[in-house]
């Protein structure tokens, strides 16, 4: 039996379906009519009452600790003044209220509004950080008249030790308009606080947390009605520096306000223990958004407190360069330990007279003695034999004239002169006489304290680890932390090491660096930054500014070195003893910290490898 007697059944039922459709249509139509036409006023009012407010909950940045877990960079919560831009009725009126009532700077506010203006209107603008109690009270009392203003507890950076290790820690600041165009800050929005300098900048992505937010329903007066949702902020990752704050503080206090730099590192791991640059700035000023005047003062200071001298200032290495020269001479087989040279106080080469610093001369000197007493004549003659190209090649092998890959931005490259360089940059051939001054670290040669320290590290240990400021999670990864090690003969390295030891411990130029019980080896250097004639034309005050650079580079203990140190003082006077003194104080503190007293009372300073790791 067919399902239909005929197709009338289908047509019949289609008609029913059409009726259903018409009924649905009428039902929807009627409901829409009632909602949109009859009850329009009701729903319009309800819609107007619908106001949502997104309250940002800024994530605190990760802490930055020193290698012993002491917190260097922390966060504190302060009250910030926010403007909910979607609530603004009359911007001028609000501005007047803030300028007249609260004494805020109109231009600053407008500037900040301009920065956030490009984002959606529901994003609040921070108008002022760290409100005082008075400001807070003033605003709270006038809350009802100004629903567009809000006070919010937000974290900001605090640098617990002020300017201590300021160049390492760096500072944070609002992301600039130029930065927002760069891919590095692609995830950021105007008004975000990002690392601008130091490890704050290099490790910004790690340190930055995940901002949270709370969305609440508020009524037309901004009164809280209901929580919508809440995303908890997540604090950024914690960073542990390789810096030892004890040593850092020692270095900075000895440098004082005179321009200078100290860098110290562990030659076995590349961990930087001290990176001090003076004068310094106080990063807290940045966290509180300094005024234009404060900023102008900072960048206008002739002693450049913003510069990290350990990696950004380049100068001639002076006599410390003799270490490089000695290694080059030994490795090329031009000299050996017995090679002796007569120093009569000066030597005539290429028609010029080149002086030793010791007017009477050193007499017959071997390499050991030449290094120990820093005899210039020995190295003039060695330089003459080596030639500029070999000197340049060895300098580069020891890491001069190139980037060290330290985890900070803005490393200066320095300059290792060569024949090619002279031709390309100066358009002149290299004169043989120039090689003679290059041999004692003068002339166009420029190095940073970090480069010089690392070169000394290679000589001291034969190892060339990457210098870095942050302890990695996996400390046992030597393949990654070591650069290609330049192969030098152990015998040659030992010779230089012994000579440097004598310089400090056996009546050499580096005596000031001596630490009882700790086998310090080192080399001083002094560089006249201006000629004597120029000096006489300058006033005393000006002359002080251009006084000679003093260097000391060294390591300890002599066998199996644990710490390399380089000190550079821009007004350090001659002879390098001032620099050597600072190095001594740092090495002494290091020694005091790490010496082990064995049961029988014997001091054992050298078995402290990796114990300082947390």
């Amino acid at each position: 039996m067919p399902i239909y007697q005929d197709n009338r059944e289908l047509l019949q039922r289609m008609r029913w379906l059409q009726v259903i459709c018409v009924l649905v249509f009428i039902g929807l139509f009627a409901k829409l009519w009632s909602l949109t036409v009859l009850d329009f006023e009701l729903y319009k009012n309800l819609a107007e009452r619908n106001r949502v407010r997104t309250i940002p909950e800024l994530a605190p940045r990760g802490l930055i600790n020193d290698r012993e877990g002491r917190v260097l960079v922390d966060n504190v919560y302060g009250f910030n003044l926010l403007l909910y831009r979607d609530e603004v009725q009359d911007l001028n009126e609000t501005l007047n209220f803030l300028v007249d009532g609260l004494g805020l700077d109109r231009k600053t506010i407008q500037e900040r509004l301009k920065d956030t203006g490009q984002y959606d209107i529901y994003r609040a603008t921070v108008l002022k950080e760290n409100l005082t109690m008075e400001e807070n009270a003033y605003l709270l009392a006038r809350k009802a008249e100004h629903p567009e203003l809000g006070i919010l507890k937000q974290p900001r950076r605090i640098y617990r030790y002020g300017s201590l290790a300021a160049h390492v820690a760096g500072y944070v600041g609002e992301v600039s308009r130029e930065q927002l165009k760069q891919s590095e800050f692609g995830a950021n929005r105007a008004g975000d606080i990002v690392g601008q300098f130091g490890v704050e900048r290099t490790y910004d992505q790690d340190l930055t947390g995940q901002d949270g937010r709370r969305r609440v329903l508020v009524d037309a007066l901004g009164k809280f009605l209901q929580d919508l949702d809440h995303v908890e902020p997540v604090r950024g990752k914690e960073l542990t520096l390789t810096i030892d704050l004890d040593l850092q503080a020692e270095a900075e206090s000895h440098l004082g306000e005179d321009p200078g730099a100290v860098i110290a590192f562990d030659p076995n791991t590349g961990e930087i223990l001290v990176m001090a640059s003076r004068p310094a700035f106080d990063p807290n000023q940045f966290a509180l958004r300094m005024t234009q005047t404060e900023w102008d003062q900072l960048v206008g200071n002739p002693d450049a407190p913003m510069q990290n001298r350990t990696i950004q200032s380049t100068s001639s290495p002076g006599s410390t360069f003799k270490i490089v020269m000695a290694l080059a001479g030994l490795e090329k087989g031009i000299i050996d330990n017995d090679t002796s040279v007569y120093c009569g106080g000066s030597v005539d080469l290429y028609g010029n007279r080149f002086h030793c610093w010791k007017t009477g001369g050193h007499g017959h000197v071997t390499l050991q003695e030449a290094l120990q007493h820093s005899c210039n004549v020995y190295f003039y003659l060695l330089g003459q034999k080596l030639g500029v190209q070999e000197i340049a090649a060895f300098s580069r092998r020891l890491g001069l004239g190139g980037s060290l890959g330290i985890d900070l931005l803005g490393e200066a490259l320095g300059l290792v002169p060569s024949e090619e360089w002279k031709r390309e940059v100066r358009g002149e051939p290299w004169y043989a006489g120039e090689t003679i001054s290059l041999a004692i670290g003068q002339g166009p040669l420029l190095v940073t304290p970090a480069q010089l320290a690392r070169a000394v590290g290679i000589v001291a240990t034969g190892k060339a680890p990457n210098l870095h400021l942050v302890l990695t999670d996996t400390p046992d990864a030597p393949e990654q932390s070591f650069m290609q090690t330049p192969e030098f003969s152990q015998e040659n390295l030992d010779l230089i090491r012994d000579a440097m030891w004598s310089s400090v411990n056996d009546g050499g130029t580096g005596q000031a660096a001596r630490v009882a019980g700790f086998d310090v080896a080192g080399k001083t250097g002094t560089v006249q930054t201006i000629s004597l004639e120029t000096r006489q034309r300058l006033s005393e005050e000006e002359a002080a500014r251009f006084e000679s650079n003093a260097w000391f580079v060294g390591f300890a203990p002599r066998n199996d070195p644990e710490i390399i140190v380089a000190v550079m003082m821009q007004r350090g006077g001659s002879g390098g003893s001032a620099a050597a003194t600072i190095a001594r104080e740092i090495l002494r503190v290091y020694y005091e910290k790490h010496k082990k007293v064995q049961p029988d009372g014997m001091e054992l300073a050298f078995q402290i490898k990796s114990k300082q790791r947390m």
């Binding site: 399902i3 009338r8 039922r13 009519w33 949109t36 329009f40 319009k44 959606d120």
Partner: protein, 392 residues
């Protein structure tokens, strides 16, 4: 193969109008949500644009496939088994947003329940024409059918996806009704579905909450009544003309799912009463053109398949619009052609393509002319040879 006639231009026009309308509304509704979710305001819209293009391609493919091909038993059962297998498979996939609903395919995802919907319609149409003799027998006709379709519905319920399950049940019931199922059986089906509804709705707290919110949205305006209340505020505050395209504010933070299930509320808020009615009119036109095509189909299978597809699309739209305006309690169900969602868009477009192919296959067996012949047409050629089986 008979006289081909042109594709139904009216249907094409209505569908393109709906898809265009939908894209325009998605653009407005999704920017803020997209910015929040993906950090790019255009991401959701761009995706939907791609899906519309894929949907149009699917339509152009199915429109060229002779629909008689689907009448083959192996095609019907393969589709059914295929979607059944996919439904079983997703029960073993990891839960996404609390349900087993999607199969991830690289950047895209597929919702087997959408395919199941079309498969059930196809199976019902097939069953109606191949078993028409037995169909009015309870044990031999109806029960086997109910077992098959019931299994599919249960699998969809297991995801859980009550909205799609109800939508499948409704399309199947409408088609059974049109197919001439006895009224007492229909009544019986309604009666047995009551306890099922009880267990599925009253015993499941979140669904019961939606019913309670439907009854009185003001009772807990920020809790269970929040969504429907915000939806009503959106539609109601639109007024006669609406606030203007892209001027709505409800979609910003208040209205949940403004670009998917509740996009019709955005239509109401921004385009007002007129815009909302225009949307209903478009779906009504779709029903008219679709039913007209089905009634002019060259075989009963074409008629039932066509009617099934029309009911599947149009009634889902009606349900969605009723939910948004609180004529029905809320449950997740997209507005066909309009809501953001890939599987729904592609399956719906493919179904429209099938409808278009039916329109191409020539004049029908159930035209007003044949009515005057008093059913002899159906009796003689409906069963045996002739046009009825020509496509098989």
């Amino acid at each position: 193969m008979g006289n081909k006639i042109p594709y139904d231009q009216g249907l094409i026009a209505v569908v393109l109008a709906l898809v265009g309308f939908g894209l325009i509304m998605v653009f407005s509704a999704s920017t803020v949500v997209s910015g929040e979710l993906h950090g790019s305001q255009s991401r959701i819209f761009t995706r939907q644009l791609v899906l519309v293009i894929v949907g149009l391609l699917a339509l152009m493919v199915t429109m060229r496939i002779d629909y008689h091909f689907y009448r083959r038993a192996e095609v019907v059962y393969c589709t059914l088994l295929g979607s059944g297998a996919l439904l079983v498979y997703i029960l073993f996939t990891p839960i996404a947003s609390g349900v087993h609903r999607w199969i991830r395919l690289g950047p895209a995802s597929f919702q087997p329940s959408e395919l199941a919907k079309l498969a059930v319609v196809l199976f019902t149409a097939f069953y109606l024409v191949t078993r028409q003799k037995q169909f009015h027998f309870f044990w031999r006709g109806l029960v086997p059918y109910l077992i098959v379709v019931g299994a599919v519905i249960l699998l969809v319920l297991a995801e859980p996806d009550l909205g799609t399950a109800a939508s499948i049940a409704l399309s199947a019931s409408l088609l059974l009704f049109l197919g001439g199922l006895r009224y007492r059986y229909l009544l019986g089906l309604m009666l047995i579905s009551l306890p099922a509804l009880y267990f599925l709705v009253v015993r499941v707290p979140y669904r019961l909450n939606r019913i309670l919110a439907f009854i009185d949205p003001e009772k807990d305006p920020y809790g269970i009544g929040y969504q429907i209340r915000q939806s009503l505020i959106a539609v109601g505050s639109g007024g006669w003309n609406g606030l203007g395209y892209a001027q709505g504010t409800q979609k910003l933070f208040f209205l949940p799912e403004p670009h998917t299930d509740f996009i019709y509320a955005v239509v109401g808020e921004e385009l007002g009463f007129l815009g909302s009615v225009a949307m209903i009119v478009l779906f009504s036109l779709l029903f008219w053109r679709g039913a007209r095509i089905a009634m002019r189909a060259d075989t009963p299978f074409g008629t039932y398949l066509g009617l099934g597809i029309v009911c599947m699309i149009v009634f889902q739209a009606f349900i969605n619009m009723s939910m948004v305006t609180s004529l029905l309690p809320t449950k997740g169900l997209p507005l066909p052609f309009v809501s953001v969602g890939g599987s729904s868009m592609i399956i719906t477009m493919a179904a429209v393509g099938i409808l278009l192919n039916i329109s191409r296959q020539g004049s029908g067996w159930v035209t007003p002319d044949s009515q005057s012949k008093d059913g002899s047409f159906f009796g003689s050629s409906g069963e045996g040879g002739g046009r009825y089986s020509k496509g098989v």
